[in-house]
């Protein structure tokens, strides 16, 4: 556990008077899939938005590979090697599939490397290759999720943040998406996965944190969390 990639120390955040995060501590080690589970409104998305710089942390420190991210504009943070698949996919509906992927590679300069990465994305999601000329807005929910992940991968991130990738997808598609995530991880990308679908998230991750009303209430190996009676009752619908 020495190679800590991302560390959050006492991070708080909020929107106006509403406090969404109350001093959370967490870390992600290189090569891991770490999941952050919790109910709606627990502060999961805010955590990711703090890391990516879309919403400023009001207290605490966020460190990525030794660099302090607090106060950095979002587009600079992408440059450091962090990409996010936002909640609700946020595909550019007015751009084609290929153009969406182009935007993912916005900061990449090396044309050959962009082409290689594009090949990788199309291999991972052959469906995208079939629809490369189609407008993003015309894709189905599952395809949009593939595109959102593919687009994030075009930036060749070392850390990939996924915000509720299973939201609104049929179970079979959830499986496809999470298997693709596993594949991306095997190829060397570290992953922080935010999910409401705790069951699937714990199956597909190494470690997990449980977030409740802005505080981390449990953490540990995913298999241990999945076996914990409290987690079972609150998040896995078992008694």
């Amino acid at each position: 556990m020495s190679d800590v990639m991302l560390q959050l120390k006492g991070v708080s955040s909020g929107y106006g008077a509403i406090e969404a995060l109350r001093g959370i501590d967490m870390s992600v080690t290189r090569g891991e899939i770490v999941t952050l589970i919790g109910a709606n409104g627990a502060g999961k998305s805010t955590t990711l938005r703090n890391i990516t710089g879309l919403v400023p942390a009001t207290a605490g420190e966020i460190v990525f590979e030794g660099k302090r991210l607090n106060g950095m504009p979002a587009h600079e943070i992408v440059k450091l090697g962090i990409s996010m698949v936002p909640e609700g996919r946020q595909i550019f509906a007015n751009l084609s599939v290929a153009e969406n992927l182009d935007m993912g590679a916005y900061l990449q300069k090396d044309k050959a490397e962009i082409a290689r990465q594009l090949e990788r994305v199309y291999t991972l999601f052959p469906r995208l290759a079939e629809r490369r000329k189609q407008l993003g807005g015309t894709l189905s929910g599952g395809e949009q999720q593939m595109l959102a992940i593919g687009r994030a991968m075009m930036a060749r991130p070392r850390l990939l943040l996924l915000d509720e990738p299973s939201l609104g997808l049929a179970p079979i598609l959830v499986k496809t998406i999470l298997s693709a995530m596993d594949e991306i991880n095997r190829e060397g990308t570290t992953i922080l996965l935010v999910e409401q679908n705790a069951n699937a998230a714990l199956k597909h991750s190494h470690r997990g944190y449980v977030l409740e009303t802005g505080s981390i209430v449990m953490e540990g190996r995913s298999s241990d969390l999945a076996a914990d009676p409290r987690v079972k009752e609150a998040y896995l619908g078992e008694k």
């Binding site: 990516t52 710089g53 879309l54 504009p73 979002a74 587009h75 992408v78 440059k79 990409s83 996010m84 936002p86 946020q90 550019f92 509906a93 007015n94 751009l95 153009e99 182009d102 935007m103 993912g104 916005y106 900061l107 687009r151 994030a152 930036a155």
Partner: protein, 352 residues
């Protein structure tokens, strides 16, 4: 029939000038969801810059010629682009996310105004500006910071303020009296089947068409153009791609303002009388054109501009010239009643 064809030619020339101005409204609306009321004053600024360039030593030496016209056109567009960037940087961006020295800047302007009122000399203006800037700096230091909260209403009010600032500033700097734009292209007229085509109208048509084609190429085939479209779809998601959205927004202002500058020159080719308030009416009509086409939609702005130009010229040609300015607003009322999203506009999905 000949009259109709003649009116058609006139209407298309007039309409393509409106279209150029409408593009600026629509592009800025696309990236910021803001009606940039100062846009019509950028158009005015473009006409004045053209006037000064044409009357400069170099401009006079070139006279009414193609290189002369290009100099006036390109120079004015470049200066308008700079003005657009300045407006974005010092008025709208602080309204979205305040930066240091914003208060200093605006208190400085206020101070300059007081200096003008009290002393009326260059020294008093400069002293006023300095005092204002210092006051703004001190206020910011003691904690009177502009609030970072961005709202459409705030930006809209800033837009109206900038517009007043430019119109009144224009009257101060350029003088309130109308000026007459010199001839910058050789004037010739050819008769095609009873329809008179003069070099002015042909220039307006040709230049407008060329600029619109160029704009389409930029928006659809360049990386920056794609980024503009990404920003107009969703600002936060664009940031996640590593797009410096502030820079793209500034670029959009520059592009839109350059087109407004071109519009200013082209209109003065047809109507050479210029004054600091000349932007108001064409600006409003171009805004109507942008709404008619579907605000935020580039093709829509071009179509809307043509329709407004044609409707106006036809109304004058076949009706009464007193209705000239009314026709655009009748169209506005109709479009708002019948298809509020405009010709090319799709129903806006409210973001949650």
């Amino acid at each position: 029939m000949e009259t109709f064809l003649q009116q058609l030619v006139n209407g298309i020339s007039q309409g393509s000038a409106y279209a150029l101005i409408a593009l600026g409204y629509t592009m800025v609306y696309g990236v910021l969801r803001l009606i940039n009321f100062a846009h019509s004053d950028v158009y005015m600024f473009g006409a004045f810059m053209g006037y000064y360039i044409a009357n400069s030593t170099l401009g006079l030496a070139l006279g009414p010629s193609i290189p002369g016209a290009i100099l006036v056109m390109v120079g004015s567009m470049a200066l308008c682009a700079c003005l657009g960037i300045l407006i974005e940087r010092f008025a709208y961006r602080p309204g979205r996310s305040p930066s240091p020295f914003t208060l200093s800047f605006w208190f400085g302007i206020l101070g300059a105004g007081f200096g003008q009122l009290l002393g009326g000399t260059l020294v008093s203006v400069a002293l006023g500006a300095l005092a204002g800037a210092v006051l703004g700096f001190v206020l910011e230091k003691v904690g009177l910071k502009p609030k970072p909260q961005s709202s459409h209403l705030k930006l809209l009010i800033i837009a109206i303020g900038v517009s007043f600032f430019l119109e009144n500033g224009g009257q101060q700097v350029f003088g309130a009296d109308p000026k007459f734009f010199p001839q910058i292209i050789p004037n010739r007229s050819i008769d095609v089947g009873g329809v008179s085509l003069d070099t002015q109208k042909l220039t307006v048509l040709g230049v407008a068409l060329l600029l619109m084609i160029l704009l389409n190429v930029v928006v659809h085939y360049t990386k920056t153009g794609k980024a503009m479209r990404a920003v107009s779809f969703n600002l936060d998601t664009a940031k996640l791609m590593g797009i410096n959205t502030d820079r793209i927004i500034a670029f959009t202002f520059a592009l839109g303002s350059a087109l407004a500058g071109a519009g200013g020159i082209l209109v003065t080719l047809m109507y050479p009388r210029i004054d600091p308030l000349m932007g108001i009416m064409p600006g409003l009509k171009a805004f109507v054109a942008a709404v008619l086409g579907g605000i935020g939609n580039i093709t829509g702005a071009m179509i809307g501009g043509l329709i407004i130009g044609l409707a106006e010229v036809m109304a004058v040609g076949y009706g009464q010239s007193t209705y000239r300015d009314a026709i655009a607003f009748v169209i506005l009322v109709l479009i708002l009643l019948l298809k509020p999203t405009g010709i090319m506009g799709k129903g806006m999905v409210e973001k949650v």
